[in-house]
Symmetry: C2
Subunit: 169 residues, 2 copies
């Protein structure tokens, strides 16, 4: 696993970690890890009439209570028609509360009801458990690296949404 230094273009940087094989490995890891990452919530959601799209909505409403529909749309990156279908079910089923905005009455501020929070914590509990085990097995240094690589893989136009969210941690 050690990389022996090799002369490279001028700077003396060792860029052997950028070989196509390593990139391919990373690409496949993203695929397999994402599958693992979503598998627990997917299994839980089968006991409900909900899918992954509902999970995402519930997650980000819990993450930023009172979030507007437009902000949620920006985060999820889907059309309003697609989100609305999911949101309508959650509101009808009493998991999400949609309140008219106080400053701008055109807006709707979204909140989880008590029942919505029950589902949210069941889903996020399973997901956190897997993440915690992976973090623990890999160690704190690895977690920093994990974060760094993933941050750099995000699309530029998502940065604003992400930074706003992470400011709330």
């Amino acid at each position: 696993m050690q990389e022996r230094p090799r002369p490279s273009v001028g700077h003396g940087d060792d860029l052997l970690f950028l070989t196509d094989d390593n990139l391919l490995h990373g690409i496949e890891l993203m695929f397999f890890a994402y599958k693992g990452f979503t598998s627990d919530p997917d299994r839980i959601l089968q006991n409900y009439t909900y899918g992954r799209a509902h999970h995402r909505a519930v997650h980000f409403i819990n993450r930023q209570p009172g979030i507007t529909v437009n902000n949620l749309l920006a985060i999820l990156g889907v059309t309003k028609q697609s989100l609305n279908r999911v949101l309508r079910q959650l509101v009808d089923d009493g998991l999400v509360d949609s309140r008219v905005g106080k400053v701008d009455r055109r807006q709707r501020n979204l909140f989880l009801t008590d029942e919505g929070q029950v589902l949210e914590s069941e889903l996020s509990g399973a997901q956190r458990l897997r993440m915690r085990e992976a973090f623990k097995a890999a160690g704190p240094d690895a977690v920093r690296g994990f974060r760094s690589v993933l941050e750099n893989m995000v699309d530029a136009d998502m940065r604003k949404s992400i930074d706003r969210l992470q400011g709330k941690l």
Copy 2:
């Protein structure tokens, strides 16, 4: 179940990197990074009549030329009906060649045709580019951490498939 941040195996480990905030951050990073990760291929695929499922099939056929349908099914984790729909299109369109197995004539060995390889390299080129930029920006230590965390996030029942693939790197 719930572990408080406290030393574990006598190493005086600091488990503060396992706080719920850090886990939440990791969870959201997976979501946003995966979106970025798939965005370039998705954009390219819009110029074809293909979708993400075709990309996955093409990727793993290229990765392990001659792979059997059953092995591909195990890797992708979908039903044979779902895969077959995609595979049939690719074969009909002349991107994939399906040859009767030589040792076991029940099996079909899958190969990319020249045309299939053109699509594959267009897709993987875009994906490698993004991965390379993320790796480069994060650095080799971070890449090791990225790998370690993701490896630990994979479902146990995928290990065999993964190890077989990575043995070919």
